[in-house]
């Protein structure tokens, strides 16, 4: 058992996400930065589906009532164990009675805390991920509160991982104040006028204070849409369409005023034209960004998006090999 002394700003149980229910309105949820989350699990010998804690800006203070190996990845942050700093991207042994405490994130937004065995909450529809809006999954379908008690799943055959095992610098996440975010064009991109199509990939956009697990709002130059007869049932604004499905990572621009990138807890559909989709590996990068950092969008082919995705998978395989060889 682990007792939540202080919950932090917005701490939830997450895993790889929920599949198969998008069509009836359940977004995937799951760790926003899938790469960091996966590395944390590898470092403690967990399988890739194990549930972790995801923090936001300020993580929790946790009292361990049992021995456990843990690993922290993601944002740059000071983390202490009984008042003494411990390294990130490294497997660490925690003894019964010790207190793990997060400072505020210095760079980046989200940290992932994996514990050997994984956090044991009841899987809902195939996943332990928390979807707060519908009170589903995770710890009672909500963010953690003081006094919550987290149970650790006892793996029958845990992988041995040597404590102190460290991920090399070049395989860690490096938060930056400006990032190139790659998008695949498509969906209702044809509704943007040619100047705005160009503007989307040439001008920087600033992340606003409204940036969370549901969506990232970005400020930048105004976008405009081609003139057309509005379809029946769409609504009168040129950015309106007859309600349609929203891919995770899709960009929309209600009335052209601001850009919204839909994240892993987003609504699954709605009535604004979708313009392009952030590729899955760059959703990890965007998830570590905050106000007033900036992004530039770069249009890439699907082939490139898939290539980058398989490179991420290969990096994770290399990390698993590295960790296992040290064990």
């Amino acid at each position: 058992m682990i007792t939540v002394v202080q919950p932090g700003l917005y701490t939830t149980v997450q895993d790889r996400g929920r599949f198969g229910f998008y069509g009836v309105g359940f977004p995937p949820s799951g760790s926003m930065d899938q790469y960091s989350s996966a590395v944390a699990n590898i470092l403690v010998g967990n399988n890739p589906d194990a549930a972790v804690l995801e923090t936001t800006f300020l993580g929790p203070t946790l009292e361990f009532e049992q021995d456990a190996n843990v690993a922290l990845t993601g944002a740059s942050v000071d983390i202490t164990l009984d008042g003494i700093s411990i390294p990130l991207w490294t497997s660490v042994s925690v003894k019964k009675g010790q207190v793990l405490a997060f400072g505020g994130a210095i760079a980046g937004v989200r940290n992932y805390l994996a514990i050997t065995g994984g956090i044991n909450v009841k899987p809902m529809m195939g996943s332990r991920s928390t979807y707060v809006a519908s009170h589903l999954g995770g710890y009672e379908g909500r963010v953690l509160k003081p006094g919550d008690r987290l149970e650790i799943l006892q793996d029958s055959e845990p992988k041995e991982v040597r404590v102190g095992c460290e991920i090399p610098e070049d395989l860690r996440v490096t938060p930056r104040a400006h990032q190139e975010i790659r998008i695949v064009s498509g969906l209702c991109h044809y509704l943007l006028d040619p100047q705005s199509q160009e503007l989307l990939i040439s001008k920087p956009f600033t992340i606003s204070t409204e940036a969370n697990r549901t969506g990232y709002r970005l400020k930048g130059d105004q976008l405009s849409f081609v003139e057309r007869r509005q379809p029946f049932g769409a609504g009168s604004d040129p950015s309106n369409v007859v309600n349609l499905g929203y891919p995770v990572g899709s960009l929309q621009a209600p009335s052209g005023l601001e850009l919204i990138c839909l994240m892993r807890d987003a609504v699954t559909g709605g009535g604004y034209a979708t313009l392009a989709t952030v590729i899955s590996v760059d959703l990890d990068i965007l998830s570590q960004m905050k106000f007033p950092e900036t992004v530039s969008f770069e249009s890439v082919s699907l082939e490139t998006a898939l290539q980058l995705r398989s490179e991420r998978a290969q990096r994770l395989r290399n990390i698993a090999e590295l960790v296992n060889s040290i064990a």
């Binding site: 589903l136 309600n243 899709s250 559909g269």
Partner: protein, 298 residues
Amino acid sequence: MSTYTQFVDGSQASFGGDEFIFVEVATDMDLEATLRVIALTDAVSSAEISGVTDICPAHVSYMVRIDPDIRDPREVLPILEEIHERKAQESKLVIESRIIEMPILYQDPWSHDVLMRFRDRHQDPNASDLEYCARINGFASVDEFISAHSSRLHIATFVAFMPGNAECYQLVPKDLQLEAPKYVRPRTDTPDRALGFGGAFSTIYPVQGAGGFQLLGRCAVPVYEAKQPFGPFETNAVLPKGGDIFKYRPIDMGEYEEIRQQVEAGTYKYRIGVLEFDLSRFREDPIGYPLTLAEALP
């Protein structure tokens, strides 16, 4: 590979990043396109394409979600194209459906409290949402609007947004179709089970939260129940399915409270009937045919 692929039936497909394919069957709301989307997504589902994790029908478009670690999405596109070619010949105008009765307290006090708090975001700050909807649709009174909204059936044409949410299109001839814009700026609050109306669509809000539809009333029974599942929720946390037909039955406060007690005790029994919906018969007789559908209610 160009951004868009045109299918033989006029549909347009494109990729939504590395995990999604988006197919636009039509751009205007049209029940025939909705039924085509249902037929197409049923066929995609039956094809059991490996790597496809989610199939998401919408009003006149659909998405499939693919796990690219299992299957290259570029291999899935031609499979969809082939299904469209096959289905282009047949026009399936009949779907298996259910009719579900939803007891509604129109003009309820809770929605009224909320909507009064957000008058500054509304087209007409001096009227209630119902008064506004009645006026812009040419009705002399709120009661006449409620009668028009509740006396004819509504069909779920897009189950999405949030679990339990189903956007429903009223089964009436086009000249009787009610319409209303969404709020100028969305509210940050809506009661759970509120009956909303926006564009040409009605929905019951599954949970409390933000929203932009005009608020007409409150449903006594839930459309989403994960915590204390009873009745239909024992097998599925979500009540509505695409193609379901809803009968909004106006009730008074006394009956509302009675039903609420049954819901909280887990003893409420939804009135659900099974039927076939035939678009061609609806087109022939858009007034009379829906009346026969209501007979399927137990």
